[in-house]
């Protein structure tokens, strides 16, 4: 188990965003995280990645309890994440953006650059090397977001809706990229709303609803689970 | 000794009223436009010079010429808002600071070039007049400054609570986007707010003229006090600015009494401590200083 979440609880004021959520992620797998809007998925990411502290419960990453560590320290340990609303460094070029990620493992700009070029190749951004990030299309911004996080050589990568806003062709490309990343030995935890996409790519799926885990298992099982269907009834969901 | 201390305290509170008035303008502008006007002190300087010259050239006392000075500052506010503030509203906080600092430098030195560095004072019969309340002596000018400051503040509060424009201003301060969606003309709100904030400083300037001399850098001194007050009271919080004004007035009065040479250092130290421990001030909203300025 590369990551273990135990009884994670987080409330904001009176609103309980997470209620005793427990699950584990096996090294090398792709775990999908789904749930209706407001289920607490991004909050879970924020707790795991060190942006929020859990009120209760703990997170164990690669054998180390990390619940109270902050994001930069977690990233150094190998836990990286992307943001739902992408946050490119607008005034820097694509290459420079990714180099920022690459610098985590080396102080040498030459090596950081090499790593950045490697990663950009993997996600297909090599052609946009010197483009200022603020000029990128949404699809390229999503790739940049992934590339940057990947440049930090994570063991576990948390991806928050990397497929939102992509057209079908771009979607297929992104799925390819995710497979390639996993092929390099990186474990993935993926939040997604696009059902067809998440069902195809994930080995297992975790379902959150109102801050609670309501189902966990293989995609087919989860898709047929009554509680999951109930949670989504009346909700719009996307079939790509 | 008790009488002396009481005297110091009263002195501090009276002056605090004027500090409050200066600071309220600053905090009002920040609360609505989310811009800190580093040239706020220079507006005070302009008001004081205007008051001085009206007296010098036409013999009108500062209290009499106050409406003119206020009107002048209102116009100055409108002009600056239009020429300098509006174009930089979308810029980063640092750029906004740079622009208003540039304005401050410009105005300060314009005064220096046109009016020289000489200290100018207004001396009317009222300047030296003193009134007694029991064992305490109160300078009439100071007392008037205090009373007018409080009255104007009260009027401002009424304006903000009761009139449509006042409510529009408060809405914009709370949530710019929501106000826009409600059909409020944000541009006009900004303009009026900045102008009102400047006009308030105009009142303060007229009230200060009998008490202090005017010189090109007088604004720099008072604006730093205003910053301390505004941060202490919580940026954007009018009641906070009012109370903060009195607190700083007292702090200054007492440190002026006990350690006159270190008087300014004392409230700067207070300022630093507040900023580092509770940047939102006594009454501010927690997190405001992190958001910076949305």
């Amino acid at each position: 188990m590369i990551l273990q979440a135990e009884n994670l609880t987080k409330a904001f004021g009176g609103l309980a965003a997470l209620k005793e959520v427990s699950f584990g992620i096996e090294e090398g797998e792709i775990l999908g995280l789904i749930g209706p809007n407001g289920a607490g998925k991004t909050t879970l990411f924020n707790v795991i990645s060190g942006f929020f502290r859990p009120d209760q419960g703990r997170v164990v990453f690669a054998g180390e309890t990390v619940s109270h560590l902050k994001a930069p320290r977690l990233c150094r340990s190998g836990l990286a994440r992307t943001f739902q609303v992408v946050k490119p460094f607008g005034n820097l070029t694509v290459l420079q953006n990714v180099m920022v990620g690459g610098f985590l493992r080396t102080a040498d700009p030459g090596l950081a650059r090499e790593r950045a070029l490697e990663v950009m190749d993997l996600v297909g951004l090599s052609g946009r090397r010197d483009t200022p990030a603020k000029s990128l299309t949404i699809s390229d911004r999503k790739r940049l977001e992934v590339a940057r996080a990947l440049a930090t050589r994570p063991r576990l990568l948390l991806l928050d809706e990397v497929m939102a806003g992509l057209n079908p062709a771009e979607l297929v490309q992104m799925l390819e990229i995710l497979k390639r990343i996993r092929g390099q030995g990186v474990t993935l935890l993926v939040i997604e709303h696009i059902m067809a996409a998440i069902m195809t790519i994930s080995e297992r799926i975790l379902v959150l609803h109102h801050g609670e885990k309501i189902a966990e298992g293989a995609p087919r099982e989860v898709a047929g689970d009554k509680r999951v269907i109930n949670a989504y009834l009346g909700e719009e969901y996307l079939l790509a | 000794m008790g009488v002396i201390l009481a005297q110091v305290a009263v002195s501090g509170i009276l002056l605090g009223g004027v500090y409050a008035l200066i600071s309220i303008g600053l905090t009002l502008i920040f609360g609505v436009l989310r811009v800190i006007n580093f040239a706020h002190g220079e507006f005070l300087m302009i008001a004081m010079y205007a008051s001085f010259w009206l007296f010098q050239l036409w013999g009108v006392g500062p209290y009499g010429s106050m409406p003119v000075v206020v009107a002048l500052l209102f116009v100055v506010g409108v002009t600056v808002q239009f020429l300098v503030i509006r174009p930089i509203l979308k810029a980063s906080a640092s750029m906004q600071i740079a622009a208003t600092v540039g304005l401050s430098t410009l105005l300060q030195n314009l005064a220096l070039v046109t009016m020289t560095a000489n200290y100018r004072s207004v001396n009317t019969p009222l300047s030296k007049a003193v009134v007694s309340a029991g064992p305490l002596l109160l300078g009439v000018s100071r007392l008037l400054a205090f009373l007018v400051a409080l009255t104007i503040t009260g009027l401002l509060f009424l304006f903000l609570q009761r009139t449509y424009l006042g409510k529009a201003i408060r809405c914009t301060a709370q949530d710019r986007t929501a106000a826009l969606l409600m059909g409020i003309n944000i541009d006009r709100v900004y303009l009026v707010t900045f102008a009102i904030g400047s006009a308030l400083v105009g009142v303060a300037g007229a009230l200060l003229m009998p008490l202090y001399p005017v010189f090109p850098t007088v604004g720099a001194y008072f604006v730093l006090v205003a910053f301390v007050v505004v941060v202490l009271g919580g940026l954007g919080n009018l009641t906070g600015a009012l109370l903060g004004g009195f607190i700083i007035g007292l702090v200054e009065a007492f440190s002026g009494f006990y350690v006159p040479e270190l008087k300014e250092a004392v409230y700067f130290v207070v300022f630093i401590i507040v900023l580092l421990i509770r940047p939102t001030g006594l009454f501010g909203v927690v997190g405001a200083e992190e958001v910076g300025l949305k």
């Binding site: 942006f51 460094f89 102080a107 040498d108 | 640092s94 304005l103 070039v113 700067f268």
Partner: protein
């Protein structure tokens, strides 16, 4: 320097990434300054050159915090003053050579900058600026207050005892070389920073602090590094000032006006770029010196009226500053694309 292997690598290899063009420009400036120092005899012009080099260097030091780290400090006079007073007092009271005193002053300023800087980084935007202003003002007032020690508002005169170890020279041209050396060092430091991890991390945290943290950047630590480096060099400049002008007093060394001037030069020239502060200083200083010399007491402050106006105009029309704007127009005219677009303080959060 040995060639880094694939698995190692060092931060100093950032020097390899400094664009050739920048080094040529630097060499050009150095050569021109040297030529002037040797050929021009007129004291006023030599003084002007020294001031230009001096302000370019100090403004560059400010830029590490104000530009690269994006934290608008208006309290740098604090570090400047600490440098000036430390070395001067050590020289006059204890006979310690100002070269040594300079390093001691810089160390002191660095320490102080860390102590006040670290807790201040939580503050964003104007709050941070205000705390820097307050801090420098407190130092100014304390210096005035401790007049038994610092001579207060009377100031301290540095006695004229020309000797290399006293950091006092008969020839003005000697000061030109010292100022030039200082500027060259500052520019090289800035060029190195820009191309190193520190520079990339500062740019990242300037653009989006959350994203930076998600990439493993301890933002507080890097802002601290920026402040320490900046304070160190600003204090060195303070000593140079004391030795050159031969007279220091609290208002000149600790004043808000001085801090504002440093920021102004960098912003006008192009904050966050290496050449911006240099260009800003080279443009602004001559105006100041000429107006002060020719018009003296008469129209004192006129140059500041101009600066203030220029600053406002630059912020509104050319927010990136003059150097990046010119570079942009030049690029478009030549149809090229530049490798690293100048970072700016505009937009972002």
């Amino acid at each position: 320097m040995s060639v880094p292997t694939r698995s190692e690598g060092s931060m100093f290899s950032a020097f390899r990434f400094i664009p050739r063009r920048s080094l040529y420009v630097l060499a050009g400036v150095a050569v021109m300054a040297t030529v002037v120092a040797f050929t021009v005899k007129d004291k006023f012009y030599l003084h002007l050159l020294i001031m230009m080099l001096f302000y370019a260097a100090v403004s560059s030091a400010w830029n590490i915090v104000g530009g690269f780290a994006g934290q608008l400090s208006l309290g740098h006079a604090a570090f400047f003053g600490i440098g000036a007073y430390t070395s001067t007092l050590l020289f006059i009271d204890l006979g310690i050579s100002p070269w040594v005193g300079m390093l001691i002053g810089a160390a002191l300023a660095t320490f102080v900058s860390g102590a006040i800087g670290y807790p201040s980084f939580r503050l964003r935007g104007p709050f941070f600026t205000l705390v820097t202003i307050a801090f420098a003002e407190v130092l100014r007032i304390l210096t005035l207050y401790a007049h038994d020690f610092t001579k207060g508002s009377i100031g301290i005169s540095v006695p004229f005892r020309p000797a290399l170890q006293n950091f006092i020279f008969r020839q003005l041209s000697a000061y030109v070389f010292v100022a030039l050396a200082f500027l060259v060092i500052m520019v090289l430091v800035n060029l190195w920073i820009e191309n190193s991890r520190l520079g990339y991390y500062l740019a990242a945290l300037r653009e989006d602090e959350d994203a930076a943290q998600a990439l493993g950047i301890d933002t507080a630590r890097y802002k601290l590094v920026a402040v320490l480096v900046s304070a160190f060099f600003t204090a060195l400049a303070g000593t140079f000032y004391a030795q050159y002008i031969s007279y220091i007093e609290p208002f000149a060394t600790f004043s808000l006006d001085f801090s504002v001037l440093l920021a102004m030069m960098a912003i006008i020239g192009g904050v966050g770029t290496v050449w911006g502060p240099v260009a800003g200083a080279f443009l602004v200083t001559p105006l100041q010196e000429v107006l002060q010399a020719k018009l003296g007491g008469e129209l004192q402050g006129l140059h500041l009226v101009v600066y203030g106006t220029v600053l406002i105009v630059v912020v509104i029309l050319l927010p990136q500053g003059i150097v990046p704007s010119l570079a942009g127009w030049g690029k478009r005219a030549l149809g090229q694309r530049e490798a690293m677009p100048a970072p700016s303080l505009k937009g972002g959060s």
